[in-house]
């Protein structure tokens, strides 16, 4: 008879080996799972995947005691605040300027400087404009990736929509939610980064009568690479509705 400790060790060994073949899920997927916005089959697959990564589960579920950081000395807090301020001060203050300001001649220099500063930091400035602020040169219809089972409409296995850097686009994201939401939210993720990183988001995106969510994209601010646009419906909390893959090519 094999003892319980030996079986437990065998179980742990098997799970440890499992981490070699099962990659950790993305934060976006994990958040969607805990928001309850994944189809059942996908949710089950993700739960199984997460079983190999208890640390990630605990990030989502563990209540953190209130006093775990209380002993951090005041001078260290002050030093950290200073470091944060140094990181965010000039470049980000310019980057958060509204697109309309960027477009006015008096701000063009500032906007260009901000874009250069962001690129130097390895970031990307993405500017979306209201329809009244610019005339898009090209309209693209985007269908959801089709990787979300029954909740995603549109053709399954859609290849990424192809955009060219330096061109302005009106993107019309197509998606019919099963119920209306109070508002919609879009997030742009740089899928070329490891791990993929959110680089922009916008609340209050309007849904048109034809079921599309128009959004203007200033392609001159996007460097070539892979991106994902993620559409959320927001009621009490954001629920992931659909993702749209984009590939931007150089001019």
């Amino acid at each position: 008879m094999i003892s319980k400790p030996d079986w437990d060790v065998a179980g742990r060994d098997w799970i440890a080996a499992g981490r070699e073949r099962v990659p950790p899920p993305t934060p976006e997927k994990i958040e969607a799972l805990f928001l309850g916005s994944l189809p059942q089959a996908e949710a089950d697959r993700l739960r199984e995947q997460l079983a190999y990564y208890p640390e990630m589960v605990r990030v989502m579920t563990d209540p953190v005691p209130l006093d775990v950081g209380a002993d951090l000395p005041e001078e260290e807090v002050a030093a950290d605040l200073e470091r944060i301020r140094r990181q965010i001060n000039a470049p980000f203050a310019a980057a958060v300027r509204t697109p309309s300001r960027r477009r006015s001649p008096s701000w063009s220099f500032v906007a260009t400087a901000a874009a250069i500063a962001l690129l130097a930091l390895g970031g990307i400035a993405v500017l979306l404009h209201s329809r009244s602020e610019s005339i898009p040169r090209s309209t693209k219809i985007l269908y959801a990736d089709g990787d979300r089972g029954g909740t995603t409409r549109g053709a399954a296995g859609q290849p990424p929509i192809e955009l060219t850097a330096g061109t302005e686009y009106l993107l019309k994201l197509v998606f019919w939610p099963e119920r209306p939401y109070r508002q919609y939210r879009l997030e742009l993720v740089d899928a070329g980064m490891t791990p993929p990183r959110s680089i922009w988001n916008r609340n209050g995106v309007q849904r048109e009568r034809d079921g599309s969510y128009p959004v203007e994209l200033a392609g001159d601010e996007l460097k070539p690479g892979r991106y994902r646009l993620i559409l959320y419906g927001v009621q009490e909390r954001p629920e992931l509705l659909a993702t749209y893959s984009i590939r931007v090519y150089a001019k």
Binding site: M1, I2, S3, K4, D6, W7, D8, V9, A10, G11, R12, D13, W14, I15, A17, G18, R19, E20, P24, P27, I30, E31, D44, R47, E48, L50, A51, Y52, Y53, P54, E55, M56, V57, R58, V59, T61, V64, P65, L66, V68, G69, A70, L72, V77, D80, L81, R83, I84, Q87, I88, F92, A93, A95, V96, T194, P195, R197, S198, N201, R202
Partner: protein, 178 residues
């Protein structure tokens, strides 16, 4: 930064120690926890225009979770890379602490046998067993999988029964409560 954003940012910074604590709690060193907490505030600043000033800690915790998950993925990827290097180095190293080959082989065989049996379980049972083997408490498994206590116990019971069929009498003590 506008005055309004500045004010909201400072209000959020009032939670800085707690954000550092969040990362400490999830196993990061003090230094890493502070670095990650700073990343949280940089991210918060980047999205300050979309933050409406409500539920401050919930908002910060949401950002911190995202950063913690990303940090884990980075660390995991780095570890895997390091493991590959280590394997190459170990090929030429003799170490007295290394488990004897016969013991290691026996352990590997047992692990493989158990794993093969677990893979034959239905998905619902398999997920419960995986979390159980990871050392999650019943309460944690219930919370993570959204199951009631009775459903979880029933699934683990069914899983044990099925594993026993697959593994024979050797499993008599595995996963048992006694």
């Amino acid at each position: 930064m506008t005055d309004d954003n500045e004010r909201r940012f400072e209000e959020l910074f009032g939670y800085y120690r707690r954000v550092v604590g969040f990362f400490r709690h999830h196993g990061h060193s003090d230094e890493d926890a502070r670095d990650l907490a700073q990343e949280v505030y940089v991210r918060v600043f980047e999205h300050m225009d979309t933050y409406r000033g409500e539920a401050k800690w919930n908002y910060l915790e949401q950002v911190a979770r995202r950063i913690a998950l990303n940090a884990f993925r980075d660390r995991n990827a780095a570890k895997r890379k390091a493991d590959l290097v280590s394997d190459e180095k170990l090929a030429n190293v003799e170490d007295a602490s290394v488990v004897p080959a016969d013991v290691a082989l026996e352990r590997q065989a047992l692990s493989h046998r158990l794993g093969t049996a677990i893979e034959q379980l239905d998905l619902n049972l398999r997920i419960c067993v995986l979390y159980y083997l990871q050392g999650f408490s019943y309460h944690e498994i219930e919370q993570t999988l959204g199951l009631s206590e009775s459903t979880l116990k029933s699934r683990l019971h069914d899983a044990r029964k099925r594993l026993k069929q697959l593994l024979g009498d050797d499993l008599a003590e595995f996963g048992g409560d006694s």
